[in-house]
Subunit: 433 residues, 2 copies
């Protein structure tokens, strides 16, 4: 008799339904890909067990009590899809203690409790797989952890939040304001009613923390990842960026040098010809730099029922094949490696886009330039148009700098903010050339 | 004592030197990534054993006799990098028979002898790994074989030949003729003195055969893959394509439907906004469509010393970790699967770009259109400029069609070729919208 693996799906919303669909509708395919093992959903745990569900989910298996599901001897793999970090953590620890493997799409859980969970998995001699936790259907976890194993990764630039990318694409393509683009994203289901965690960079920061663990072995606390969201970007910024040949994208970046790594999430101006600049709508993409291979790019759907389920099922198949167990043992993730140290981003050198609203009077440009010069920052170009109306006393001033240390640029910007000729805070983004 | 793996490098040109560099200069990294096993080059086989080499290659280990190297009990993995299909096949079979695992970058060998070699590997209970055989540093073999395991792949579109892509990029960017772009590519080392196998689609066809094996389990003979090279593309074609909003790329394509798959290599017009249209110079990229995940894109360096070595060393690490053995057993590649049948591309539906040189006289356009109409092909747009000089009696005529069956389009083109008002053969490419 062919060996069989039982799955408990804890959480049965969009992604859980997608996983059940694949395992049910494509059962033969999954058996072929595992090399002959059948995989079946034995338990489904949902808040409302009586709710009508997709026919792929056998109603007899649906319950509300995760403890019974996790303890079921017919279950070998627990798939945690409820999100959050409290109950999810209890479920994962209980599953491991009961001798089950775990598959999760929960980046927040990994970012916050990775070390504890992975220690528990090692103790239980079980695995935690998480391809779906970052960039949905894009196999970035395997790419960085296995395919690029000959490399020390030196840089990561990722569009990891589809909501933000959708909003920025609308702003760039249609000249929409941030507020209008957000409303449109909400209307189309790309943004939640409260979009904060997507647009302030929190979601991307969680994902970056997971990628940084794989690439550098560092366990990043939330405070280790500087975050700047997209809410301050104005329609004029996307317009000026375009005028200069750039597109603004929210990037999660990691830059390594001399066994240190700087991690941050921020809007960045990318040349229009940069592959990441071309990534539209809710798609995700990650540009990974390895010291041996150079740059490789991975692009695809970053969320959604079936793309995310594709990654969850790939993990299930990996466990069935026995590959995941080999990877888990060799990779030693969240084991407290001290090879790399996380450093603040202030030492990272970058070009900068600086947009000010200044009083249209003599001497203003000279004052601003002096503030930059005081920090040894030289200017590459300046855009200052005529005021639109003659009565307008405040005009936008855009400056592109040459390479400068982030910390020194911030110092200069803080001084510029205090100039009496400057109305409103400096808006600035780094520029990737 | 930590376990140790010995490597025999058979062939020590560019890629072999790159592999030796990684294993020597980054020995600690490799040991960490294998979970503690050391990996060392024990034998190097080269045509000229006395030749001066990179310091990474210990001269004491260099010889000219592959049989001794393959038989050495200190060797557990044989890395075949000599290319060609005769001696390379003997080496791989001998290595497997001697109980060694094999890593190869040889797409021609796999395309032509995959079935025999994989049968020998299964018999010997050893593995053949080949990440470097397709698209150099891009981990497309793992992506398709492992990461997308939940999917039936339904489409592949790959820029798999860097030489052709370099030439086409030059033609598009600088308006160069094919001949001038080729000369430039040769001067810069992107094209060989005899570029035939690169520019006629043979190299890309070998790589497509390997990808088709992974995606569909089909063993494609050379005649199963229709090939059209880039030598017929004229400067005016890249110009007209640009005028219509397209870029011409040499694509290796696989399209599956109803358990059949069509395989071909040909120039294709891609919308300028298509991610594959943006791939410049010698880079490679593959757009993979899966029935669950949708489209994912993989892009990076398709050749070169270190990118290719990155993939070879990833395979070595996979064998050391034990992952490759699990994959090899489960994937059953080149085992004569009959799930998919290869069909000719004539049934594939596509839009077409048709460029003719026609006599500038009344009735010509009408005649051409009638030939298309006879095959039920409708026309989307026509470009016919004034002749450049009044004395010019032959002018280019460009027609874009709506969707049509490839076979019927070819029939129409053959009829058009015989029209007395048409000077010179029809040049046509499919158009991807």
């Amino acid at each position: 008799m062919a060996e069989s693996l039982g799955i408990a799906l804890i959480g049965c919303g969009t992604v859980g339904t997608g996983v059940a669909k694949i395992l049910t509708h494509h059962a033969n395919r999954v058996t072929t890909r595992t090399g002959g093992k059948t995989v079946a959903v034995k338990r489904v745990v949902a808040r409302d067990a009586g709710k009508g569900r997709d026919p792929a989910i056998p109603s007899a298996s649906v319950g509300t009590d995760w403890t019974t599901a996790v303890a079921d001897p017919a279950v070998q793999i627990v798939v945690e899809l409820i999100g959050g970090t409290t109950t999810a953590k209890q479920i994962v620890l209980a599953a491991l203690a009961a001798g089950k493997h775990v598959v999760t799409a929960n980046k927040a859980l990994l970012a916050e409790h990775g070390q504890e969970l992975f220690a528990a998995a090692r103790k239980a001699e079980r695995v935690i797989c998480f391809e779906a936790a970052v960039a949905g259907g894009i196999p970035i976890i395997r790419a960085m952890g296995e395919s690029l194993a000959a490399n020390q990764i030196t840089g990561i630039q990722g569009i990891l939040n589809g909501t933000s990318n959708f909003i920025l694409s609308s702003m760039a393509d249609n000249g929409a304001s941030y507020a209008n683009a957000l409303t449109e994203a909400q209307r189309l289901g790309y943004a939640e009613a409260d979009p904060t965690l997507d647009v302030d960079g929190s979601d991307a920061a969680h994902k970056l923390a997971v990628l940084a663990q794989i690439a550098f072995g560092v366990t990043a606390k939330p405070s280790d990842i500087e975050k700047q969201g997209i809410a301050d970007i104005q329609a004029m910024d996307t317009r000026y960026a375009a005028e200069l040949g750039y597109t603004i994208k929210l990037l999660a970046e990691a830059w390594a040098a001399d066994k240190t790594v700087a991690l941050h999430v921020a809007p960045v101006l990318l040349r229009k010809t940069d592959p990441l600049a071309q990534v539209r709508g809710a798609f995700n993409a990650i540009l990974v730099t390895g010291d041996v291979v150079g740059e490789t790019l991975y692009q695809g759907p970053g969320a959604g029922m079936m793309p995310t389920a594709s990654s969850v099922v790939a993990d299930i198949i990996d466990i069935a094949v026995g590959r995941a167990q080999k990877t888990f043992t060799a990779a030693k993730l969240w084991s407290g490696s001290r090879e790399f140290t996380i450093v603040p981003s202030e030492k990272v050198r970058s070009k900068f886009y600086l947009r000010l609203l200044v009083k249209d009077e003599p001497g203003t440009l000279s004052e601003v330039c002096r503030c930059l010069a005081n920090e040894q920052i030289s200017i590459a170009s300046v855009i200052q148009h005529e005021p639109l109306r003659e009565t307008e006393k405040v005009v936008p001033l855009v400056i592109m700098t040459h390479l400068a240390e982030t910390g020194r640029f911030r110092t200069a910007a803080a001084v510029i903010d205090k100039l009496t000729s400057v109305a409103g805070p400096a808006v600035y983004f780094s520029v990737d050339d």
